[in-house]
């Protein structure tokens, strides 16, 4: 049995001749929030649908909470909460009727946290779903996924229709779940959010895993920009650094894209007459774009 809360091994899904995901190997540790990043069509939704048994894999396998994804799908679904990528609910039912219908599949464990969640997200369950705004529909989808206090959450772009305040509240809820040892596997393309909430992120492109990184490690390793002003024009024009690529911004002001350790850059910079220095961290988004730029460069 896997020690991971979620482990996929060579998970592959083809739609006819078209590839959904190809040989996906991911390990998610118990109690972590794991971000799954990728552009539209990368295979995020396919992966999540495979995990909750909505799709059958072409090849490969996965274990969730120690259970086989295909053979024990029903047991998995008892223990996970899922938010689909496109939340489309039962238009003719009220919010309450929707939650009762979905809770009926789970029996006694169904709605232990329901009242707390309704209060937290300020959702009126007496109204018909057809009268809900897209934000309220998303809240209903969140509530139905969390209400039975699942051991693991599989969330497909859960904040896409939420305003910033509710989004903040949602991520606070995720952190609380994590503190209680719950595991969260969340797909998104909103990178700053993932940076704030996730322990690790995987990046997927064209159905293939590009990278899995620890967010804290990524923050340490990631690209930094420095802008510095020199007291005088350096000999030989733009200074050359082994640790960074330098461009002139204007006059005596230069911009350096630093790769690797900061220490090496500072040592090189200290040889120059510095008048001003400003260092900025690149966002995950820039890292993300960097990944894709590299991949695009590799492609024929």
């Amino acid at each position: 049995m896997s020690v991971y809360a979620l482990e996929t091994r060579g998970l592959t899904k083809y739609y006819g001749r078209h590839i959904g995901i190809n040989g996906l190997d991911i390990q998610v540790r118990p109690g972590e929030i794991f971000g799954f990043l990728g552009p539209n069509g990368a295979g995020k939704t396919t992966t999540l649908r495979l995990l909750v048994g909505l799709l059958r894999p072409t090849s490969g396998s996965a274990e969730i909470l120690g259970l086989d994804m295909v053979r024990q799908s029903l047991d998995i679904r008892r223990r996970v909460g899922y938010i689909p990528g496109e939340v489309r609910l039962f238009e003719h039912l009220t919010g309450e009727e929707t939650l009762n219908l979905l809770a009926s599949f789970r029996g006694k464990q169904a709605s232990g946290m329901l009242k707390e969640l309704l209060d937290r997200f300020e959702l009126d369950p007496s109204r018909k779903v057809s009268e809900y705004s897209s934000g309220n529909r998303q809240k209903l989808a969140i509530i139905q996924a969390f209400m039975h206090d699942p051991e693991m959450l599989i969330l497909d772009e859960p904040t896409s229709a939420l305003d910033p305040l509710i989004r903040h509240s949602f991520y606070a809820l995720c952190r609380e779940f994590k503190q209680r040892g719950r595991t969260i596997f969340v797909s998104s393309h909103i990178l700053p959010e993932m940076e704030q909430v996730c322990d690790r992120v995987a990046i997927i492109r064209k159905g293939k895993l590009v990278a899995v990184e620890d967010v804290a490690e990524l923050a340490r390793k990631k690209l930094r920009h420095a802008e510095f002003t020199l007291a005088e024009e350096p000999r030989g024009g733009i200074p050359r650094f082994a640790s960074a690529t330098v461009q002139r911004v204007n006059g005596l002001r230069f911009r350096a894209d630093i790769r690797g350790e900061m220490d090496a850059f500072v040592k090189e910079l200290s040889r120059l007459p510095i008048e001003d220095l400003q260092v900025n961290h690149a966002s995950l988004e820039e890292i993300f774009l960097e990944f894709y730029r590299d991949e695009a460069d590799d492609s024929p």
Binding site: L54, R56, L74, Y82, V87, R88, F90, Q144
Partner: protein, 268 residues
């Protein structure tokens, strides 16, 4: 096996459709039946039917029909084609709604991401379909029986109940085929296409078989061969042959629905 909350949801979701179908059946059945006392006294009406060639009569219920008899008149005007067509339309729409439409509108994704077996989902949908078809059948035949009672029309109530069982089983089989199509195929349009094709082809082959023996072998395999409202109402014996055909057909299609849904990828 049967999930009661899901059953209630599926019937509730189609409650308006069921209501409108019932109102239409009450209005049409009531009108047709209430006209019988007047029509049965018009000799020209009988003569008009008598002028039809047998070949053509077979298209509307058979050349042996006596339309001066209440059962013959109701067969010609209502039971032979119109009623099964109406109930079949409901069955096609219900079968399409349960899986194909739910898949298209995304609700199947959220339902099946919960701990429910696909087998149970398909069986519950079949039970809901059965309940809907049974209700419409009872409303249609009940209307004819009630109006006949108040207008003192000489009609066999036992024959009406035997006919109700016959039309119910016919549409359960057709609905079952559509439920299978709903589970196996991609879209709602394909489900309707299967239903309409099956209905029309079966009716046509039955008409051809009643006129030309060469079509009889083919006809034996299709549902309208086992559907004969006039004989059911007048021959004074329950059509067990019809039951022996329609019931296994419905069960086979329900089983195929379960197998198809279990293999189906749920994508919108």
């Amino acid at each position: 096996m049967i999930h009661l909350e899901l059953l209630r949801y599926e019937l509730k979701a189609k409650r308006r459709s069921i209501l409108y179908f019932c109102l239409g059946l009450i209005a049409w059945g009531g009108l047709i039946t209430s006209l019988y006392p007047t029509v049965s006294g018009i000799e020209a009406f009988s003569d008009y039917w008598g002028q039809f060639p047998d070949t053509l009569k077979n298209l509307f219920g058979g050349h042996e029909i006596n339309i001066l008899r209440a059962e013959g008149y109701i067969t010609l005007e209502y039971y032979q084609l119109f009623l099964p067509l109406i109930i079949a339309a409901f069955a096609f729409s219900f079968a399409a709604f349960c899986v194909a439409r739910a898949r298209e509108n995304g609700t199947l994704e959220i339902l099946l991401s919960h701990p429910i077996e696909r087998r149970d989902y398909a069986i519950t949908s079949f039970v809901a379909l059965t309940a809907g078809v049974a209700l419409l059948t009872l409303v249609a035949v009940g209307t004819v029986m009630i109006v006949s009672f108040f207008l003192n029309i000489d009609i066999s109530y036992a024959g009406q109940l035997e006919f109700a069982a016959s039309v119910f089983l016919l549409n359960l089989g057709l609905g079952g085929a559509c439920l299978f199509a709903s589970c196996a195929l991609k879209g709602v349009g394909q489900v309707y296409a299967v239903g309409v094709t099956l209905f029309a082809a079966s009716y046509l082959v039955n008409f051809l078989a009643n006129n030309w023996t060469v079509f009889r072998i083919l006809d034996h395999g299709l549902p309208f061969h086992y559907y004969d409202p006039y004989a059911t109402m007048t021959s004074g014996g329950f059509s067990w042959t019809g039951v022996a055909y329609h019931l296994p057909v419905a069960i086979i299609f329900a089983t195929l629905s379960v197998l198809a849904l279990q293999r189906k990828d749920i994508v919108n």
